[in-house]
């Protein structure tokens, strides 16, 4: 569980590094996000005058919900301790809880930016969440389970092979992951400009240790989606629960390689395309919704597609 927290800021640093190199800048070192978080932790927190207890509690709640969700995704080995606590649907809903409280915190101060971020975030979520759930449906229908450990084991079997429905699910899941993590083309994590802000507008009033918690939670969420996609669609190298130390170590190495690949791919993608207008985002996510629905329908009609 601690592993994901330790690794998450590194992934953010890697993506930033890749983006900088692609635009011929040298870029900050990969360890920079760790330093940022440490710096934020040491600073005093400035609260707006009418901030309520909810505003102060939210960073910890958001972090806790995201962390529990991230800890439930198999990283380098399946069947980890307590992995039966919740299934894929519950993981989606846990992320929903985190978003719910973050949106409430955005509304708490009573500024125009907070409300703007919260209302746009909920709009994006109201399309992204059904798309995600439909993707979960099609994965669950292939694997016969919503339990992630079981899903990963089934997906590693050679009989599963290439399927149309899984391809659709992969595309849908990638789109949802981009939207949920506020990456380009849905949102730009690097700006403070009102036309482009969604997530950043929501957390605008946070500072100090509260902001540090929110940054860690955002990094964790990105790592969660990367791990999720890796464990479902690319289970190569993942160790079984009864495997020995060697297999575990190999699994860990494979996992690191997968995360690094995903980070580089995300950096390339973000450099290559431009940010969308906010009202184009539902069309983009609508494509994910349709793909998810089509994938599920295909599986209902024929189990072998």
């Amino acid at each position: 569980m601690l592993l994901v927290v330790a690794l998450a800021p590194g992934l953010i640093g890697l993506v930033r590094k890749v983006k900088a190199r692609l635009t011929r800048r040298r870029g900050a070192p990969i360890l920079q996000p760790y330093r940022d978080i440490a710096r934020l932790m040491r600073k005093e927190a400035v609260l707006a005058e009418n901030a309520s207890w909810l505003f102060r509690a939210t960073p910890y709640l958001v972090f806790a919900a995201t962390w529990v969700a991230a800890a439930l995704v198999p990283t380098f080995a399946t069947g980890l301790q307590f992995s039966w606590t919740a299934d894929l649907i519950a993981i989606v809903a846990l992320l929903g809880s985190a978003r719910f409280f973050l949106a409430l915190a955005g509304m708490d101060i009573g500024t125009s930016f907070g409300g703007l971020g919260a209302s746009r975030e909920m709009m994006i979520a109201s399309v992204a969440e059904p798309a995600m759930l439909l993707t979960v449906f099609s994965i669950a229908l292939v694997a016969g389970s919503t339990q992630l450990s079981t899903v990963a084991q089934v997906m590693a079997m050679p009989e599963v092979g290439l399927r149309v429905s899984l391809g659709m699910a992969l595309v849908a899941l990638v789109i949802v992951a981009i939207a949920e993590n506020a990456r380009i083309p849905v949102d730009n994590p690097a700006t403070h400009l009102e036309l482009t802000m969604v997530h950043e507008a929501m957390v605008l009033e946070y500072s100090g240790r509260h902001l540090a918690m929110i940054e860690i939670a955002a990094a964790l969420k990105l790592l969660l989606y990367v791990s999720l996609i890796a464990c479902i669609f690319w289970p190569w190298g993942t160790a079984r629960e009864e495997a020995g130390v060697g297999a575990m170590a190999f699994g860990a190495l494979a996992y690191l390689a997968k995360v690094a690949t995903a980070g580089v791919a995300l950096g390339v993608l973000e450099t290559a395309i431009a940010k969308m207008r906010v009202f184009r985002v539902p069309d983009f996510l609508g494509a994910a919704l349709m793909l998810g629905l089509l994938g599920t329908l295909l599986l209902f009609v024929s189990r072998s597609l």
Partner: protein
């Protein structure tokens, strides 16, 4: 046990009569509400005993039709809904002890309130069509009287009128349904109806009629139009009772007929029911997202939840028609559990809205804000309610939706292609409704309770009294408990599910750590207890670590807002602005929302205006055209009132001859 339940129901009715005798004024309102809360304990205890294993019991009362009497029966299904009514009724009564003190016209509320709870109890107990329909109609009329409590406001009068028309229409449909069920020889007892066999066509007709009758009471689209007008018009404790409990009595009526009385049904009615439920859910929550009035928003969200429950029931019927009893039991459990959960959080939220109404006198979201500072306890309890209703773990709303999604995932086993296409589409719609619910309730809580106060009334709000808070705390803790230990509730529902689907979920309390395992461990598990514990541990550990290793310094300053915040509270996001993105994305087709901007030219001092118009397509297309038809026909027939006596006599003569001829031809 059935005697206890019946006695409590009758004592509730007597309490109402007593209140009338005592004048029903403010003097006795606390006493009446207190006694009605006590009387709710009887049905609750009876229901718990039946679910605990006491066999079903019958009772015949010597009232009603001569030589037949009124039959009452308490079985597991009745017991589930009896408990639901008892909890909702008791909470609303306790709440009303405090809320009733602020009532402007107590004599219009107090006398009807206990009898309303009593009538709902008797509907659930009734074991023959006659007493069922009488109690149903009494329940409708009493709730109509309660809606009309503040009759001086014109919108209340029109809401009550619409409700009365729809209630009469619904009862007529139920009357016809029971007429078809009883058949030619008039066997109106449920036991006789249950054993009779009937062709598929009659069974489907009965189901359609019950869907109209019960669906119009529950708020199923397109018969829902009265609900968002009538539920908010009533005093808040009555709104809580109507939305939280009375809609469940309608669900009970549907389950009783569809699963118990009518017998086997063909499979092809279930996709219709599924689609109806899922689209009701989306339509309801989309309207809730746009509503500016707090209680109206809650009423629309009731429509959403009723849609979810009916979709689950449709799924259960589909499984049952194909003989798949285990998935049918799962879907029915999800429906019953969601009905229970909706009672808890919807009553809680209506009470929260009532508390805000008491403290500020307003219920429009744009006049509120900042209440979390002024009403701390109400705010925490409402937060529990909105988290639960948004289907977020680890509270109870998510537990029942999770079960529903699990039963959807079992549906590839269904043999019919039609169902296989409808079920995933309905699943997508339900997921959309769940996501929109979260957005709608962020809006309710964020605009209503957070931010800065938008009016003087909200700025000077005071926390409400203890009775109201006690009732809300009770419901709030039920939301949390049923969310963290759903295994207990599911095991309690098992006898009722077993009675209707001849199967039940595996016993959940026996699993280690109280994990929910509806089908098999490798398939899906959810352990809310551990999820809750992990979140609590992670949140407090991270807070401790932050304060220990980081900084604990805290400073208050003005809000940042990217530079120069405007001090006026009107610059915050309001109800309409929060809804704008979703209105634009989804509302432009379904609600036909359009925005017009009136920007004055330079030099013109009048303010610019931004106006949103929305159309209720169902109301305009369906209801207004029916109303126009009625007006047209009655205008035509008006001429019949001004004829001479000769014409009347010949009309009477003609119709007599016609009728006799029809009888002769019939034989």
């Amino acid at each position: 046990m059935v005697e206890l339940a019946a006695l409590s129901a009758l004592s509730l009715v007597m309490l109402s009569l007593g209140a009338v005798a005592w004048g029903g004024g403010a003097r006795i309102s606390g006493l009446v509400y207190g006694l009605s809360a006590l009387a709710c304990l009887g049905p609750g205890a009876a229901g718990i005993a039946i679910l605990g294993g006491v066999p079903p019991q019958m009772l015949t009362l010597p009232v009603g039709l001569p030589w037949i009497g009124a039959h009452l029966r308490l079985d597991a299904l009745s017991a589930v809904f009896l408990i639901l009514i008892a909890i909702g009724g008791a909470a609303a009564s306790v709440y009303a002890i405090g809320y009733g003190r602020h009532e402007s016209a107590p004599e219009r509320v107090v006398p009807f309130f206990p009898a309303f709870i009593g009538a709902m109890t008797l509907v659930v107990l009734a074991d023959d069509a006659f007493s069922f329909l009488v109690c149903w109609e009494v329940m409708s009329l009493l709730s109509w009287a309660l809606v009309l409590a503040h009759h001086r406001a014109p919108e209340v009068r029109s809401a009550a009128y619409l409700y009365l028309v729809m209630a009469a229409f619904g009862t007529m449909a139920l009357l016809l349904a029971f007429g078809l069920l009883a058949g030619g020889n008039g066997a109106y007892a449920f036991s006789a109806i249950r054993t009779a066999s009937r062709p598929d066509s009659v069974a489907v007709a009965v189901l359609a009629l019950v869907l109209v009758g019960a669906g119009s009471k529950a708020g199923l689209a397109p018969l829902h139009v009265w609900l968002p007008q009538a539920h908010p018009a009533a005093p808040s404790h009555v709104s809580a009772l109507m939305s939280g409990v009375m809609t469940k009595v309608a669900v009970y009526a549907f389950i009783r007929v569809a699963f118990d009385l009518v017998g086997p049904l063909p499979w092809w009615i279930s996709p219709a029911l599924l689609m109806l439920g899922a689209s009701t859910a989306v339509l309801g929550i989309l309207n809730a997202m746009m509503a500016d009035d707090m209680k109206r928003l809650l009423a629309y969200s009731t429509i959403e939840n009723i849609g979810v429950i009916f979709a689950a029931l449709g799924l259960a019927l589909a499984f049952r028609a194909n003989g798949m009893t285990a998935p049918a039991a799962l879907a029915l459990t999800a429906a019953l559990f969601h009905a229970f959960n909706h009672m808890t959080f919807k009553s809680l939220l209506f009470m929260g809205a009532g508390a805000v109404l008491t403290a500020t006198g307003r219920r429009d979201l744009d006049g509120l804000g900042g209440l979390i500072h002024r009403m701390p306890v109400t705010s925490v309890l409402t937060l529990i309610g909105v988290t639960a209703i948004s289907a977020l773990p680890p509270l109870n709303g998510f537990a029942s939706e999770w079960l529903l999604f699990q039963s959807i995932l079992l549906s590839p086993g269904l043999p019919q292609l039609g169902l296989q296409i409808i079920v995933p589409a309905a699943g997508g719609l339900l997921a959309l409704a769940a996501a929109l619910a979260a957005a709608a309730f962020v809006r309710l809580y964020g605009v209503g309770f957070l931010g800065r106060s938008r009016s003087d009334a909200a700025r000077d709000a005071r926390e409400v009294d203890r009775c109201m808070l006690v009732a809300m705390t009770g419901l709030g803790s039920l939301c949390v408990l049923a969310g963290i230990v759903p295994a207990f509730v599911l095991d309690a529902l098992a006898p009722a599910v077993d009675q209707l689907t001849a199967n039940r979920l595996p016993q959940q309390m026996a699993e280690p750590w109280l994990t929910l395992i509806p089908v098999a461990e490798a398939r899906s598990t959810y352990n809310p207890l551990l999820v809750f514990a992990f979140i609590a541990i992670a949140a407090s550990a991270s807070a401790l670590a932050m304060h220990r290793f980081g900084s604990r310094a805290l400073r208050r300053g003005p809000a940042w807002d990217c530079g120069f915040p405007e001090p006026s509270p009107a610059t915050q996001y309001g109800a309409a602005s929060f809804a704008q993105p979703i209105r634009r994305v989804l509302g432009s087709q379904i609600l036909r929302a359009s925005e017009t901007v009136d920007m004055p030219p330079p030099g013109d001092p009048r303010p610019a205006r931004h106006r949103v118009t929305m159309h209720d397509v169902i109301w305009e297309r369906l209801y207004l055209s029916v109303a126009r038809g009625v007006v047209y026909v009655s205008a035509r027939l008006n001429g019949l009132q001004f004829l001479t006596i000769r014409v009347y006599l010949s009309l009477v003569m003609g119709s007599l001859v016609g009728l006799l001829l029809a009888v002769a031809l019939w034989h």
